[in-house]
């Protein structure tokens, strides 16, 4: 197949990562194009629910060359607001974006890539996959065992409680998405049962400041992927149980329990129309509580080490997660008590169009901090790609700087090399 056009680098995806990478390449004089299947910030416009807000505060929303300069630094952007921020960014950096262009296949051709789209084929020496880490919902194997009478919804198609039938709702998964949806669905008058596995608990504020402020200043967000003990485990860690609201409220399992949400353990199987939950709920909660208190203790130590104790409210610890005795281990999905299930069980990238030998036996992309196992190929987005902050908007700053340097070196030498620290 002969390419229609040739360019040094193709960036697939016009979201915040793709656009940040575009700026990095432009700064280095590397010609490139950004291919986006919809409009810029497509996923934020088309795949988020109505009440969605970022869980990071506005002051933390920054991209290379652009900080938040609005009037509400401690607020949290809605989906349309972050989409607007990203659109303005695209214009600001003059990113060469070709919208309405869907990539249908990527193949190698010698030491170049062929990017086949529904608007022609591009040939390039370098390729940046910035198409997102949340293209598809990740569903458990036994999802097919849900009785036909129960409606199932994933977060990419969920918009508001109104689209659900009346009656009880089982929300599976208690990371950020799960607790947020459990909260608003329960408030709509549909009794929620929340299935909870391992989770990351965090207070919204601590000693008077947003938790993200502390995560940043004590250096947690800058922890590197090659410095943590087990990166695959770290990458599998769920998003923290945070919500962004004007009241800066903490939405933890105790808050949900107080509103009447029923907690169950991790959903382990569906057998003959019966949901089977793990008996490890109390352990999971105890572990999460321990980790949270460890974080708070680390923050206290940082404050004391910097002689700032007088500036902040006094230290405290999280109230232990309350789990009642005899939490049921089963839930009959056929009885009519549960009319809908929301799968808040995570997301994955869609690389079905990527026809390159760069996947491990489990179907995961083989990469080293975003440098994919094929010369000239890079990947952005995804939890803990290079640093703990990689999954947040501002993670794009350092990630794109590092990978652009690697890419530039690759172009200069024709060889891939270790990324400079």
């Amino acid at each position: 197949m002969r390419p229609d056009r040739s360019v040094t680098t193709v960036i697939i995806g016009g979201g915040h990562n793709g656009l940040a990478m575009s700026k990095r390449l432009a700064d280095r004089g590397i010609d490139h194009v950004v291919l986006e299947r919809g409009d810029v910030a497509n996923a934020w416009r088309t795949q988020r629910w109505d009440s969605f807000t970022l869980l990071t505060p506005n002051w933390q929303t920054r991209l290379p060359g652009r900080i938040y300069d609005g009037e509400d630094p401690d607020g949290f952007m809605t989906a349309p607001e972050i989409a607007g921020f990203i659109e303005e960014y695209a214009a600001l950096v003059g990113a060469p974006v070709q919208t309405g262009t869907t990539v249908t296949a990527v193949r190698s051709s010698g030491d170049t890539f062929l990017v086949v789209t529904d608007r022609g084929t591009w040939q390039c020496r370098c390729l940046v996959l910035a198409s997102g880490a949340c293209n598809l919902p990740h569903l458990p194997d036994f999802a097919a065992g849900v009785p036909e009478t129960v409606v199932t919804v994933n977060p990419l198609e969920y918009r508001s409680p109104d689209q659900l039938p009346d009656g009880g709702v089982l929300v599976v998964g208690a990371a950020a998405t799960g607790i947020q949806l459990a909260d608003e669905i329960h408030a709509s008058g549909r009794p929620v049962t929340l299935s909870v596995g391992e989770h990351v608990r965090m207070p919204r504020t601590y000693r008077g400041r947003d938790i993200q402020h502390w995560m940043e200043v004590i250096g947690r967000l800058d922890e590197r992927y090659d410095e943590v003990e087990e990166i695959l485990k770290a990458r599998a860690v769920a998003s923290p149980q945070l919500i962004g609201t004007p009241e800066r409220r903490t939405l933890d399992l105790n808050a949900l329990t107080d509103k009447g949400v029923r907690l169950r353990g991790r959903l382990g199987a569906i057998r003959d129309g019966v949901a089977l939950f793990s008996g490890g709920l109390r352990n999971h909660c105890r572990l999460a509580d321990q980790k949270t208190n460890r974080l708070l203790r680390d923050i206290d130590e940082w404050i004391t080490a910097h002689d700032l104790d007088g500036q902040y409210e006094p230290p405290g610890r999280c109230e232990p997660t309350r789990i009642p005795k005899d939490v049921p281990l089963t839930l009959d999905l056929v009885s009519g008590e549960i009319t809908a299930i929301v799968w808040a069980t995570g997301f994955r990238s869609d690389f079905s169009w990527l026809d390159l030998p760069v996947f491990d036996p489990a179907g995961r992309l083989r990469h080293d901090g975003g440098v994919v196992d094929a010369p000239g190929l890079y990947f952005l987005g995804g939890t803990f790609l290079r640093r703990r902050k990689s999954s947040f908007i501002h993670g794009a700053e350092d990630d794109t700087a590092d990978l652009a340097e690697h890419l530039a070196h690759h172009l200069a030498t024709g060889r891939s090399a270790a990324v400079a620290r």
């Binding site: 353990g265 991790r266 382990g268 199987a269 057998r271 089977l276 793990s278 008996g279 490890g280 352990n283 572990l287 321990q290 460890r294 005899d326 036996p361």
Partner: protein, 181 residues
């Protein structure tokens, strides 16, 4: 020279993990026990053969265990349920020992008490709404080791998280019973 920490051969352990990471088929193990009825409520299991690392294997010797019943039996051994408590404690404790070894933490003493409640009307068929198995299994650990309290918590938590027996008790497991002859 292979060094042991807490009696765990670390080099061998890491080498095995590396092998299994590279070749998942070698990690497919199969364990079995052969059981014979003795008398009354007592039966004896012998454990000798196992399959793993791509080949049939045997233990250093044949191990055997007898279970019985405290009131209806003849004193041959504790109940099968109590073997499960031992299995749970042993599995987690092995995990604590290997986890400490991997982090070069010296263990001085690790002890635990495992308890579980059971309403025996379940197994006696008195009331179909009463579960046959345990409710409320608790394991309480005491750890004396050369590390801080947080690390002790982490060792016990990891020991449980990566425990085969904890997993099969806490989570649904396929169990198929059949009669051959």
């Amino acid at each position: 020279m292979s060094e042991e920490v807490n009696g765990v051969p670390c080099d061998k352990m890491f080498a095995s993990i590396a092998r299994f990471r590279e070749n998942g088929e070698l990690a497919a193990f199969r364990f079995s026990a052969k059981n014979e009825w003795v008398e009354g409520t007592a039966s004896r299991s012998t454990i000798y053969e196992w399959y793993g690392i791509g080949a049939d294997q045997v233990h250093v010797q044949e191990f055997s265990f007898t279970a019985d019943h405290p009131t209806l039996g003849h004193g041959h051994g504790p109940t099968p349920q109590e073997y499960v408590l031992h299995a749970l404690a042993a599995c987690i404790t092995a995990g604590v020992a290997t986890g400490a070894a991997a982090r070069n933490i010296k263990l001085n003493k690790v002890s635990s008490t495992v308890s579980a409640d059971i309403d025996v009307r379940g197994v006696l068929g008195v009331d179909p709404d009463i579960r046959k198995g345990f409710s409320n299994v608790t394991v309480e650990f005491d750890v004396d080791a050369e590390c801080d309290e947080d690390q002790k918590d982490a060792l016990v938590a990891a020991g449980a998280k990566y425990s085969a027996v904890y997993d099969m008790l806490a989570n649904p497991t396929e169990v198929t019973i059949s009669r051959r002859h």
